[in-house]
Amino acid sequence: MPRLDELQRDEAYRACCLAISAAGPQRETLYLARLVLLLMEEVGDLPRCLAAVEAAARDLPTPGPAA
């Protein structure tokens, strides 16, 4: 499976930041849910999808005041 290198990760990370900001507070959650669905289709592998779903929930903190 292909992996992101550091530069690519930076670019994907930044693209997400810009897209969430562009969606705005009212639509950011829906935007993120759509992103999840599309990425799961890209992954195309149920155990890896479920592992990511679980990993994201593990030790989920309450966001700080700035987030």
């Binding site: 959650t29 829906l30 759509r34 999840v36 669905l37 599309l38 289709e41």
Partner: protein, 570 residues
């Protein structure tokens, strides 16, 4: 919950005229009915009537106790699956259902203004029956009542009679009933509770359904509307007529349309069911779909909340449960009545085998085993549909919105909106499944074979016509000649009990029928390939059409052991 006055609703809906059946009190001796019954069925709805008809095929008489004087008022269960049509066909009552019902094969889902899914149920030209028909439950019950009335020696429907008390032990059941003002008692070998979601029998025995109740609430309304829109299932998510919520629409015979629409979880049901509110909603919805110019009227309203719940056991000594008395399934995917008929058909042959002395009572324990399995399979699909149609929490709402809003651009994601309509249950892992041989393809023990046409002495028929009130051996022999030792074994079984029929599937020759044996012709080898059959392969079908076992080289011993095992004999 019908909103029409009782008199109006009782007389006519569309072309259907309600007939009020009189209450009849049987001959009594000191308040007691002298004749003991083999089977009493509590509840004269489609499941109870279906069971009575199924038992009648074995010559078993039953008494059906029905609290109402008429068939049901509302359209209620309107979608009959192919599997249920096969069961109705086996009961000999299919013709009026096909003549009156509206067949359909698929449907469309919309998100806001866009069509995002066009689904089709599995169907091909080799099938005898459509994947689904729509028909109102009052027509369903009427056709079953008419069939029962043609068998007055075998089916005794007691209208306007309530069960008021039950005592049971290993030997039978003592019931108290009230026919109008007349209380009386009656005795039966077996009681089958087909008395619905609010089952008196279940409550009286102190039994409870266990499972999950969902929050989502739906209003169900029938309107009379002359629209030529084709018969298919339409679902709207977040439409202009019900912003944020869902609407479903189904066509029924007699220009009746079913409209199901979701209301907020915290809405007051009584208020939401007020006729002015319902008609206001429907006016807006008809305007949205371009049907506002047509005259229409509201004929029935009800409300619905989803639940997936079951009894832990469908047999309690001499009392058995079938249909909604045994389990509740969410409406989405139409598994309510369809699973009830599956219950009745599974139970009928087992009860018949026990009553006729062919099998031990242990056979009835496989009724619970197989139908609880059926419940679990049904519930898993129905819960998925329900979570989509009535999202139970914030996460389900959000992901649904995400999926629906992507579905137009990414059609593969639209599959989550598929209604997951009912399909035939396979009793995989059932203790009745017999060890057999490995086949390449075909139908596993516990499943129902895929249908395909063959030629019989009665004319063109299908594989689904071969089962009946008997065990059925389907032997694949191209030249129509079984090997001599097997031929002798089949002859012996054809002459014995339980009843047995042998069907030889040949590639060549003429179809014929003689006694309990017949030959059908499979000129193109379709049945051979659908069953994964080799020369000499044999499928043993149970009376409900499910495969009991299959072998490539069966012997007399194979078949004798199979019968003993099916009859729960050691």
């Amino acid at each position: 919950m019908a909103i029409l006055s009782r008199e109006t609703a009782m007389s006519r809906i569309g072309s259907f005229e309600f007939f009020r059946h009189p209450t009849r009190v049987p001959p009594l001796q000191g308040g007691r009915e002298a004749q003991r019954h083999r089977v009493v069925i509590a509840g004269g709805g489609p499941v109870g009537l279906g069971l009575a008809l199924a038992l009648s095929r074995w010559g078993i008489a039953s008494v059906v106790i029905e609290a109402d004087h008429t068939v049901c008022e509302g359209s209620r269960a309107i979608c009959i699956s192919r599997r249920s049509l096969e069961i109705l066909d086996q009961l000999g009552v299919l013709a009026p259902f096909l003549a009156k019902g509206l067949p359909w094969e698929g449907g469309r889902s919309f998100y806001r203004g866009d069509q995002i899914l066009h689904f089709r149920m599995p169907h091909d030209q080799r099938q005898k029956l459509p994947p689904m028909i729509n028909i109102q439950q009052y027509w369903i019950e009427q056709f079953l009542v008419e069939a029962a009335q043609r068998l007055p020696e075998l089916i005794d429907i007691r209208w306007g009679t309530e069960v008021t008390g039950i005592e049971h032990n290993d030997a039978g059941v003592a019931l108290r009933a009230r026919a109008g003002d007349t209380p009386y008692s009656l005795q039966a070998d077996w009681l089958v509770a087909c008395d619905g979601g609010q089952s008196f029998v279940r409550r009286h025995l102190g039994l409870k359904l266990e499972g999950t109740a969902f929050e989502g609430k739906y209003i169900i309304a029938d309107i009379e509307l002359a629209s030529d829109y084709p018969t298919e299932r339409r679902a709207w998510f977040d439409p202009a007529s019900n912003p944020g919520y869902t609407v479903l629409m189904h066509k029924q015979p007699d220009d009746i349309w079913r409209i199901d629409y979701q209301i907020p979880d915290d809405a007051d049901l009584d208020e939401a069911m007020q006729p002015a509110r319902v008609t206001g909603f429907i006016r807006g919805h008809l305007a949205m779909i371009g049907e506002a110019h047509r005259p229409w009227k509201l004929v029935w309203t009800s409300a619905y909340r989803a639940g997936a719940m079951t009894l832990a056991d469908y047999r309690h000594g001499r009392v058995l449960f079938a249909g909604n008395s045994a389990h509740a399934l969410p409406i989405f995917g139409v598994r309510g009545l369809n699973s009830g008929w599956d219950d009745a058909f599974n139970l009928s042959w087992k009860l018949a085998f026990v009553l006729q002395g062919w099998a031990g009572e242990r056979l009835l324990d496989t009724y619970t085993e197989e139908r609880i399995h059926g419940y679990r399979v049904n519930a898993a699909s129905a819960i998925k549909s329900t979570e989509f149609m009535a999202p139970p929490s914030r996460g389900f709402w959000l992901m649904r919105e995400a999926a629906l809003s992507l579905a137009l651009a990414r059609p593969e994601i639209a599959s989550v909106a598929n209604p997951r309509q009912t399909s035939t249950i396979s009793y995989e892992g059932s203790s009745l499944n017999l060890p057999g041989d490995d086949f390449i393809g075909g139908t596993m023990p516990g499943s129902v074979p895929d249908d395909c046409p063959v030629e019989s002495a009665r004319g063109p028929c299908h594989l689904s016509d071969l089962p009946g009130p008997h065990l059925t051996a389907v032997l694949f022999a191209s030249d129509g000649t079984p090997a001599p030792p097997l031929d002798e074994a089949l002859r012996a079984l054809e002459g014995g009990e339980p009843p047995w029929c042998s069907v030889i599937v040949a590639r060549l020759g003429e179809p014929w029928r003689q006694g309990r044996r017949e030959q059908v012709i499979d000129p193109e080898g379709l049945a051979f390939s659908r069953c994964g059959a080799l020369e000499g392969s044999l499928y043993l079908l149970r009376p409900d059409g499910h495969v009991a076992g299959r072998w490539h080289r069966p012997t007399a011993a194979t078949l004798q052991a199979a019968v003993a095992s099916l009859c729960a004999r050691p």
